[in-house]
Symmetry: C2
Subunit: 219 residues, 2 copies
C-alpha cells in the first residue's frame, strides 16, 4: 500500500471502479456482504469514499443497502433477468435504429472491427477465447448506444441492464446460439452501412431474443 500508484484520481472513483469491476467479474458473489472497513482497508482508503461508492452502486442497482445492516451484492432472479430483457427489447432496438441516422464512417469502421474481431475470437477451434468476447460485446453495445444520441434512453438502459451481469460469460451459449449472436453484430453493421435503421433495429431484436433464450435456459 506504499507505492500502489497513489495518483489514481479521486479515491471514491477508484473505490467505485474497483467494486463495480469486482462485482461484474464475479469476484464478489451475489449476496455477499460488503463491509465498509474491509473494503476500505483492502483499497487503502478510509470508509468515506467507500461509502460514497456503495451509495452510487446502490443507485445503479448493483448492490442493495439495508439500514444499519450494510450492503449486499444484488442477487438477480430469473424473473429479474426476464424483466431486464423486456426493458432491453423495448429500448435497444429503438436506439439501434436511431444510430443509423448518426453513424459516421469512423463509427462504422470501429463497429466493423469489433464485429470482425468477435467473429474471429469466437470461432470454434483452439484459438477460441470466450472470455475476450465479454469486453468486446460490451464495447460494441456501448458504442452503438452512444451513437443513438439519446441520453435519456442510454441512462434508462444503463441503470438497469448492467450488461456484464447479464452477459457475464458466453460459456453458456451453445455453438449455434453463439454463431447467431456473433453474426448479428456483423449484420447490424451492414444495416447501419446501408442506412437502414429499421433493419438494424430488427437485427437487434433478434440478437436480444437469441440471448434471452440462452439466459432463460441457463438458470
Amino acid at each position: 500500500m506504499t507505492s500502489t500508484e497513489r495518483r489514481a484520481g479521486r479515491a471514491s472513483e477508484r473505490a467505485l471502479a474497483d467494486l463495480r469491476e469486482a462485482i461484474l467479474d464475479g469476484d464478489l458473489a451475489a449476496g455477499a456482504h460488503l463491509g465498509e472497513v474491509e473494503i476500505a482497508e483492502r483499497l487503502g482508503l478510509s470508509r468515506t469514499p467507500v461509502r460514497e461508492a456503495l451509495t452510487r452502486l446502490a443507485a445503479e442497482g448493483l448492490v442493495e443497502l439495508e439500514a444499519h445492516r450494510g450492503a449486499r451484492v444484488t442477487r438477480f432472479s430469473r424473473e429479474d433477468l426476464d424483466g431486464i430483457f423486456d426493458v432491453r427489447l423495448a429500448l435497444e432496438p429503438q436506439a439501434t435504429a436511431r444510430a443509423a441516422q448518426y453513424v459516421t464512417p469512423d463509427d462504422l469502421a470501429a463497429l466493423d472491427d469489433l464485429a470482425t474481431t468477435m467473429l474471429a475470437v469466437g470461432a470454434p477451434g483452439p484459438d477460441q477465447d470466450l472470455d475476450a468476447l465479454v469486453d468486446l460485446n460490451r464495447a460494441f453495445h456501448a458504442r452503438l448506444l452512444a451513437l443513438a444520441h439519446a441520453p435519456a434512453l442510454a441512462a434508462a438502459l444503463a441503470n438497469v441492464v448492467h450488461t456484464p451481469v447479464v452477459t457475464r460469460t458466453f460459456r453458456t451459449y451453445d455453438a449455434d446460439s453463439l454463431a447467431r449472436s456473433l453474426a448479428h453484430h456483423a449484420e447490424i453493421v451492414a444495416a447501419l452501412r446501408a442506412g437502414d435503421g429499421d433493419w438494424a433495429g430488427a437485427v437487434m431484436r433478434c440478437h436480444l431474443g437469441n440471448a434471452r433464450a440462452v439466459m432463460v435456459e441457463e438458470q
Copy 2:
C-alpha cells in the same frame, strides 16, 4: 430548528427527501448551485448526510456533480424532454398493459378514485385546482407502474423520467388537452377493469402523445 421533529428517520433520508421535493417543486431553479454547507445549515445537519443525498440525487439525474465544483440542479433541454418521452412511450404502455393481468379490485378502486378526483379537481370552474393535479397524477402513474410487477421496467423509468420535473404543472395544458388527459386516466381504469391490457396500453400511448404535444409546444 430546535423542536423540528428530530426523530424523522435517517438524516440522509431527510436531506434526500427535502432536496428532491425542493427541486421537483421548483423551489430550486434549474442550474442553481447547491452548496453543501448551506443545505446542511438549513436542515440542521452536518455535511455528511447532505453529501450522501446529493450523490444519490446525482445518480437519479436530478443534479449534476462536477469535481471540486459542487452540485447544480440539472437543466433539461427540449431535446432532453423529447428523449424522455421516447423512453416513456417505449416503457409505460408496456407496463400499463402488464398491469391488466395483476390488477385487483382494491387497485381498481384506488385508481378509479384518483381518476375521478382528478376529473373533479381539473374541471373548469371556480373549484379548479391545477396544482392538486400534480400529486394526483404522480400517484396515479406510480400506482399503475407498481401494478405491472416489473421492477426492472420501473427502475428504468424512475431513473429517467422524474415525473414531476416533466409534469411540474398542468398550467401549460390548454383546456382541450387537459380534458383529454384526465379522460385518459378514467379510460385506463375502464380498460383495466375489462382486463384488456392492449386497450390500456393504447390509452397510455395516447396519454403520453397528448402530454408530449403540450410539453414540446411549451418550451
